[in-house]
């Protein structure tokens, strides 16, 4: 199992509010990258009182080499699903880092250079379940981030989810990927940060 | 119990007796008393009613009440089901 890309150290933060499925997403994404694609991944998340109801955060450090320091220092990619999260963590983005927001929830971005997709709206309107927003996001990541390989992510979902939930999740994943592809067709060439 | 009245011997292990006096105080036949050494001793074995009070209540396992027949036969307790 050889990872498709050589990654030095890629730092990704998923952030938003409790209930948006951010912690689950972090787990699924991390497991997919680590177990299906063979990267070294260290995933941490915010614990404590703040994790319930308030802000929610999941961090991943991804590398082709063993990871020493497990926490992100300068983010390569920030995913923000709430205005607060976007405001709070934008300053942790490193120069040339990318920002991806749910533009149905984040109305004011601190920069003009960002990717925006309405994950929550898509989940609500196209799938009828707002909880699937995180899987729509995962689908988008699979298109936007070169080393997030769609096939590996789907396989990860198959092994971790019960058949009962699998179909709807895969549908959400597919939706996210299609929408991202439609809006940002040439994204892969833009990556310089790893 | 009464019919065994004459066939009983009460004996005390002086080494284990601490002289608390429970046996002497409660013995219905007044068989026992505390001797000058502070330990229990048998003063009138003949009045023993074989009630077993002293044996059950001796906190130091120092009193044995034996029937004479039992002494003659030298029978042991059946420990068949012991570990």
């Amino acid at each position: 199992m050889k990872p498709p890309y050589e990654i030095q150290r890629f730092e990704l933060r998923l952030s938003g509010l409790g209930g948006q499925g951010i912690l689950t997403l972090g787990k699924v994404l991390g497991a997919g990258l680590a177990l299906e694609e063979g990267y070294f991944v260290a995933q941490t998340q915010s614990y404590g009182p703040e994790a319930r109801g308030g802000a929610s955060r999941s961090d991943l450090v991804i590398s082709s080499q063993p990871i020493s320091y497990p926490k992100p220092e300068q983010l390569d990619l920030l995913v923000a699903l709430s205005q607060e999260a976007c405001n709070q963590y934008y300053r942790h983005l490193k120069q040339g880092g990318y920002l991806l927001v749910d533009d149905s929830l984040v109305k004011q971005t601190p920069t003009n250079i960002y990717w925006g997709l309405p994950f929550t709206t898509l989940a609500k309107e196209k799938l009828g379940m707002v909880q699937a927003a995180n899987m729509v996001l995962l689908g988008a990541l699979a298109h936007l981030v070169p080393f997030v390989v769609p096939r590996a992510m789907k396989k990860g979902l198959e092994t971790s989810l019960s058949p009962k939930f699998l179909e709807s999740n895969l549908k959400a994943f597919q939706l996210g990927m299609t929408q991202a592809k439609k809006k940002y067709p040439n994204v892969q060439t833009q990556w310089t940060s790893f | 119990m009464a019919k065994d009245k004459q066939q009983v011997v009460v004996s005390i292990y002086p080494d284990w007796c601490k002289g608390c006096g429970i046996c002497a105080a409660f013995c219905p036949g007044e068989v026992l008393e505390l001797g000058p050494d502070g330990k229990a001793r048998v003063v009138q074995g003949a009045t023993c009613r074989n009630c077993g009070f002293c044996e059950h209540h001796c906190p130091d396992f120092a009193i044995v009440v034996k029937t004479k027949r039992r002494i003659a036969n030298n029978r042991e307790v059946d420990h068949a089901h012991e570990g």
Partner: protein, 387 residues
């Protein structure tokens, strides 16, 4: 040394993307743990939760949630006496409550494993933030002189490996073993390999082989570790936290007390090199060595590599066994280097040990952080470059 290798139940290796706390459970089950008693406390709670899910599914697994941590360790000792490999997991305040029974287990030589996911500050302190505040408590928390084995882990795979090791050492030396983790290590998810049981060395306590009437429960022997029967196996003996003679009966006769205490220490001391493990990174030609453990060792690792790139001959000595303290290794580096740096998330608990070894041979720098934040590679690098 006679050892028993357990038969494996699961043949193939598996990979898992797991929390440090999950890895502890995997390690414990791999080592043959079949009894867990605990009381929920952040940030160790996942260990109890996963045990509650897993143990009842094993043929003889027992999970019980007790009323507090004192009770938890009491139940663990009871289960271990009854022949089970047993463990509990806790965090700072709960660890304080366990001290009484750590002493009891030490005196009665009951094998067991305590995982303490450390948190910051005295009292309730910083419940959800990382710290390394219990290092000396793990060593000296209980009253009276006693030997103890304290291990630590710095990444998720090590959580598994060191839990297995903790069980092995506790069974081998009939001693409580404490595994110190921190919130970062316990709450980081990483890929782990769950090894094949056949390839893994698993020790179980040695049982007496002589007939019960010849059995002397705390007999003096070369190894100093008497064989240990389980309750109900026919070897009836007395277990007591009082100083006891070789038969286990309480004694206060000086010569018997002295002998017992000496043996308790000897059984750990004489196997120092079996118990002690360290990990060296870039140490051969190092002029400055960082001595670290737990999550800080990960920061230190990155800092050392960065320092090398910048031209400083830096090295990392990662402690995996905190106690008995790896004096010989530390002494070697102190002689070799112009400076050693001990970064830790407390006010200097391990650096005390290092300084005791130092005797003025080199410069010992400390780097302490007590605000619930991990020491970053950049902070260590700064000290490294100045040292």
């Amino acid at each position: 040394m006679p050892t028993k290798v357990k038969k494996n139940h699961r043949k193939e290796e598996r990979s898992l993307f797991a929390l440090g706390n999950e890895a502890v459970v995997e390690g414990a089950l791999l080592a043959g743990c079949s009894f867990f008693a605990g009381y929920p406390i952040t940030p160790s709670t996942e260990i109890a939760e996963i045990m509650a899910e897993r143990l009842p599914r094993l043929p003889d697994g027992v999970f019980i949630q007790m009323e507090d941590e004192i009770a938890s360790l009491g139940a663990v000792i009871g289960a271990s006496l009854a022949g089970r490999k047993s463990m509990t997991a806790t965090s700072g305040p709960g660890f304080s409550l366990m001290q009484e029974h750590i002493g009891y287990a030490s005196m009665t030589e009951v094998p067991l494993v305590i995982v303490n996911v450390m948190r910051g500050g005295p009292s309730t302190g910083l419940p959800t933030s990382p710290a390394q505040g219990d290092v000396q408590q793990a060593r000296w928390g209980t009253h009276g002189d006693h030997p103890i084995i304290v291990l630590s882990a710095s990444n998720v795979q090590e959580c598994l490996d060191m839990t297995v090791r903790a069980f092995n050492l506790s069974e081998k030396y009939r001693s409580p073993v404490i595994l110190l983790l921190d919130e970062i290590t316990a709450h980081t998810r990483e890929k782990i390999q769950i090894p094949n049981r056949e390839t893994y060395e698993i020790f179980s306590r040695i049982k007496p082989s002589m007939p019960p009437e010849w059995f002397v429960p705390y007999e003096e022997s070369m190894r100093g570790v008497p064989p240990m029967p389980a309750l109900g196996e026919g070897y009836r003996f007395h277990v007591t936290g009082l100083t006891h003679d070789v038969n286990g009966y309480p004694t206060s006769r000086p010569e018997e007390v002295e002998k017992l205490m000496q043996r308790l220490f000897r059984k750990i001391d004489q196997f120092f090199y079996d118990i002690q493990i360290i990990e060296e990174t870039a140490c051969e030609d190092a002029e400055v060595v960082v001595i670290a453990y737990g999550c800080v060792a990960r920061s230190a690792h990155l800092a050392v590599l960065q320092a090398r790139e910048l031209g400083t001959r830096a090295g990392l000595l990662k402690l995996k066994t905190l106690f008995p303290f790896p004096r010989p290794a530390v002494e070697r580096f102190i002689r070799q280097c112009r400076a050693v740096i001990v970064p830790e998330m407390n006010m200097g608990q391990m650096s005390r040990e290092v300084k005791r070894v130092n005797n003025g041979l080199s410069s010992v720098r400390t780097l302490n952080r007590i605000d619930g934040q991990i020491i970053t590679p950049a902070e260590i690098l700064k000290v490294l470059q100045k040292a």
